[in-house]
C-alpha cells in the first residue's frame, strides 16, 4: 500500500539550532513531494515542493528539502530555527497524475528559548 511516514511525532529544538524533519514514502515511481506547515489556528501553507531536477529544493522561510531516491526520503531542514517556526509540519505525496495528496501524520516542532 502507498504510504507517507513521518517517524518523529514531536521534536523540540533550541532557537538558533538546526532542524531536520524526516519523511519517507512508499510509491512505485517518483511522486510529487511537498512539505506543508500548519501554525496554530491557521490553515496549511506550502513550504516547498519537488517534481524533478535538482534534488535539493529551496522553500519559503529559509527551509530546504532534499529528495533521495535511493532512500525514498524527502527530509526538511532549516539551518537556524526561529521561535516562529514552532508549528506542525506535514509531508505530502501526490502519485504521478493523481490530484489526491497523501499526508503523513505530521511532526510537531517546539522551539525553546
Amino acid at each position: 500500500a502507498q504510504s507517507v511516514t513521518q517517524p518523529d511525532i514531536h521534536i523540540t529544538v533550541s532557537e538558533g539550532a538546526s532542524l531536520e524533519l524526516r519523511c519517507n514514502y512508499s510509491y512505485g515511481a517518483t511522486p510529487y513531494l511537498f512539505w506543508y506547515v500548519q501554525s496554530p489556528g491557521q490553515g496549511l501553507q506550502l513550504l516547498l515542493k519537488y517534481f524533478s531536477g535538482d534534488t535539493l529544493v529551496q522553500g519559503i522561510k529559509g527551509f530546504e528539502a532534499e529528495f533521495k531516491r535511493s532512500q525514498s526520503s524527502f527530509n526538511l531542514r532549516k539551518p537556524s530555527v526561529h521561535w516562529s517556526d514552532a508549528a506542525e509540519y506535514f509531508c505530502a505525496v501526490a502519485p504521478d497524475n493523481d490530484y489526491k495528496l497523501s499526508f503523513g501524520a505530521g511532526t510537531t516542532v517546539t522551539v525553546r528559548a
Partner: protein
C-alpha cells in the same frame, strides 16, 4: 476573497444531528478539496471537485457524508446523523486547476465536536 474561507470555525453538535460545513474557495480556482484531520493523524482525503466534472467521492467514509459545489464556487459538506467519531477538523482547499503538482491553498478549517 483573498484566501479560502471556511465557516463556521467551530461547531459543537449532539450525536445524531446533521451539520453543514461551508467552504468558499479562492476566486478563479477550479479545483476544491475536502480533507479531514483527526487528532494525531494526518489529513484524510474526503472529496474532490474539478470544474463541471463529476466529483471524486472516493474518500467519503460513509453514506452519511455528502458534499456539493454550487456554481463551481462555494461548497458545502454535510454530515447526517453525526457520530462521535466524526469529531475532527474539516479542512477545505482549492487550487487553480487541480493538477498534481499544484499548490493547495487551505482554509483554517472547521473544528467539529460531536457530543
Amino acid at each position: 476573497g483573498a484566501g479560502v474561507s471556511q465557516s463556521p470555525s467551530n461547531k459543537v453538535t449532539e450525536k445524531g444531528k446533521d451539520v453543514e460545513l461551508r467552504c468558499d474557495p479562492i476566486s478563479g480556482h477550479t479545483a476544491l478539496y475536502w480533507y479531514r484531520q483527526s487528532l494525531g493523524q494526518g489529513l484524510e482525503f474526503l472529496i474532490y471537485f474539478q470544474g463541471n466534472s463529476a466529483p471524486d467521492k472516493s474518500g467519503l467514509p460513509s453514506d452519511r457524508f455528502s458534499a456539493e459545489r454550487t456554481g463551481g464556487s462555494v461548497s458545502t459538506l454535510t454530515i447526517q446523523r453525526t457520530q462521535q467519531e466524526d469529531s475532527a477538523v474539516y479542512l477545505c482547499a482549492s487550487s487553480f486547476q487541480g493538477k498534481p503538482n499544484e499548490k493547495l491553498f487551505f482554509g483554517s478549517g472547521t473544528q467539529l465536536s460531536v457530543l
